[in-house]
């Protein structure tokens, strides 16, 4: 992997961040009400509005405002929330940390569940196990997170069962078991939906790998089935799976927005929804930018991992 390639990809990442930031900023510019109207409410006098607009710099041209926003952003200053009055950066990064924990748990669960199931389906292609896995994955990719989450709520948090808490958050650093107990339902929801995606991919990649010449060669050499499966077929089908996992971070981000909203989990997704409802512009800008950047970064890391793992590929 050449340094030049990494450099080029980093450049693309910066371009992506710039385009997304311009888009997000543009959107908040088109909005009928600006920050001053939001702070003072719709019954504010015209004089008060003009005064505040001047104070906030809203009377300046859009590009000046954009430049100020971007230069603040590069210094880690994302502005102040219009609702809470707190610094946006603190709120956003605190929420992001909680969401990343949620995502990490979900991804670990997916890797543990989806890869073995996909392998089993591929090995037993056309048999009952394969059919079962395919059925489950079709249902999984067709069930929106909010439906699944609501069904899990009905089933597992009903007053007479109350297996899990219906909402809320306890930091696992504060109380480990209680923290896990609160994070369980959001993680289960995300894991089920993601497992369906990843399982499908592992199955089809593994099925291709099992027909490849090198697998046949390994079998003819008399290696055991397990060795052939794990050392040869699985290893090669892992490469596309990494790409899919990275692409699925896109679903995961969408899922996180919905799941956090439903389970009242104070992460970045819920922060964004609340900010949109309250029209808290600096918060919307920062939240959207952080999410898009996380996605772009995960795609970059997946590509780099792909190149590193598969020495046959040479990008320039």
């Amino acid at each position: 992997m050449s340094l030049q390639y990494i450099f080029k990809r980093l450049l693309y990442l910066i371009i992506t961040a710039l385009v997304v930031s311009a888009l997000v900023f543009g959107i908040t510019q088109i909005l009928p009400a600006n920050a001053a109207t939001m702070l003072l409410g719709e019954y504010a006098t015209a004089d008060a509005l003009v005064a505040l607009e001047q104070k906030l710099g809203l009377d300046q041209p859009a590009y000046v405002q954009y430049w100020r926003w971007i230069s603040g952003l590069l210094q880690g200053d994302l502005g102040t929330s219009l609702r809470s009055g707190l610094p946006v950066a603190d709120t956003v990064f605190q929420a992001l940390g909680r969401s990343l924990l949620l995502a990490a748990f979900a991804l670990i669960a997916v890797v543990i569940i989806a890869i073995p199931l996909g392998v089993i389906a591929a090995v037993r292609r056309g048999k009952a196990a394969d059919f079962g896995v395919s059925m489950i994955s079709y249902i999984g990719i067709s069930l929106p997170e909010f439906v699944l989450a609501t069904l899990l709520l009905v089933w597992l948090t009903a007053p007479d069962i109350a297996l899990f808490p219906a909402s809320g958050y306890v930091p696992i650093t504060e109380n480990f078991t209680k923290g896990l107990w609160h994070i369980a339902l959001p993680v289960i929801t995300l894991a089920i939906v993601l497992t369906a995606h990843v399982m499908r991919m592992v199955r089809s990649e593994m099925a291709d790998a099992l027909h490849a010449d090198y697998v046949l060669a390994a079998r003819l050499r008399g290696l055991s089935t397990t060795t052939v499966l794990i050392r040869h077929a699985l290893r090669n089908s892992m490469l596309p799976t990494i790409t899919v996992l990275a692409l699925d971070v896109g679903y995961l981000i969408g899922g996180i927005i919905v799941v956090e909203e439903i389970f009242a989990f104070p992460g970045i997704g819920r922060l964004l929804i609340v900010s949109i409802q309250e029209r808290d512009l600096p918060m919307i800008q920062a939240g959207a930018l952080v999410m898009a950047f996380t996605y772009a970064l995960s795609n970059l890391l997946a590509d780099l991992a792909y190149v590193y793992l598969d020495r046959r590929i040479q990008y320039d």
């Binding site: 888009l23 997000v24 067709s142 927005i257 919307i284």
Partner: protein
């Protein structure tokens, strides 16, 4: 009988589609869905917005086959009326995405060079925004409503469609018939729409079919979040959102609309997979 559209053979295509089990199941489900969409309101036993005060939140009974919601509205009737909105709006959102994306992709691929490079970098950057987040941002501007949700999903889908359209354009741009059209002195617009666009039919239809499933799920999700269709519309996502406060008293209010959304999404996912296998020349 053999209907041929260009090189595309309808009879052959159908037999390829029906050779796969998921194609058969997908087509059957599509027929059921079409009946629901066309005849839904006629089949509904009650008006979808009539309150039956004496029987609120009842489970399935002979009188109310799927039960009633918190206002005593018949769930079956609401689902049947809602099918039209939910399915047609999702198709429409996908069409918007295919239209905008297709046009951008063809233009970018046809013009090539620096313009293509710039457009594709922009498209890549937009693809770095997850669909739901993209749709949320657009709705922030447009305001929450069913129509705006459709527009938002359409725009959010267009970068992906643009990529596909561009790759098809690049593959046929150097072909003899495009060169012939250029030599005849046809206008670029004519070449793009008559010579290049028809090649896009198969890949765009495959992508669009799978996208319809996403569109349905996204549309329902936006309605659920209060950013799509507004009450009292019998939109399926909205039905779940409204019934949430009463879900422990009658879980059917959640189960039926959820099942309906999943069934439509499964229909288009199965069809999309079957189309991909049927239209893939590798499977000859």
């Amino acid at each position: 009988m053999c209907i041929s559209i260009g090189v595309f053979n309808m009879t052959d295509f159908m037999s390829r589609l029906l050779r796969q089990p998921h194609g058969v199941v997908g087509l059957i489900l599509l027929v059921v869905l079409a009946i629901e969409v066309i005849l839904g309101p006629a089949l509904a036993p009650y008006d979808p917005e009539t309150f039956h005060y004496s029987s609120r939140l009842v489970g399935p009974t002979p009188e109310f086959l799927l039960g009633t919601d918190q206002f005593g509205r018949d769930i079956l009737s609401r689902l049947l009326w809602g099918a039209r909105t939910t399915v047609l709006l999702s198709l429409f959102a996908t069409l918007i995405g295919a239209g905008i994306g297709g046009a951008i992709g063809i233009l970018s691929g046809y013009l090539g060079g620096r313009i293509d490079e710039v457009i594709m970098r922009l498209v890549d950057a937009l693809m770095a925004i997850p669909s739901l987040l993209f749709a949320l941002l657009i709705i922030t501007v447009l305001g929450p409503s069913g129509t705006n949700a459709v527009v938002a999903i359409g725009i959010a889908f267009s970068p992906g469609m643009a990529r596909i359209a561009r790759s098809v354009t690049l593959s046929v741009r150097t072909s003899d018939y495009v060169a012939a059209a250029v030599a005849r002195g046809e206008s670029p617009l004519w070449i793009m729409s008559r010579e290049i666009a028809p090649n896009m039919l198969a890949p765009v239809i495959i992508e669009a079919t799978i996208r319809v499933a996403f569109a349905i799920m996204l549309l329902a999700t936006l309605s659920f979040l209060g950013l799509g269709s507004q009450p009292p519309a019998p939109e399926w996502g909205l039905m779940i959102s409204e019934a949430r406060a009463f879900m422990f008293r009658n879980a059917w209010t959640i189960v039926w609309p959820g099942l309906s959304i999943a069934m439509v999404a499964i229909t288009f996912n199965l069809l999309g997979d079957a189309l991909r296998d049927a239209l893939n020349p590798k499977n000859d």
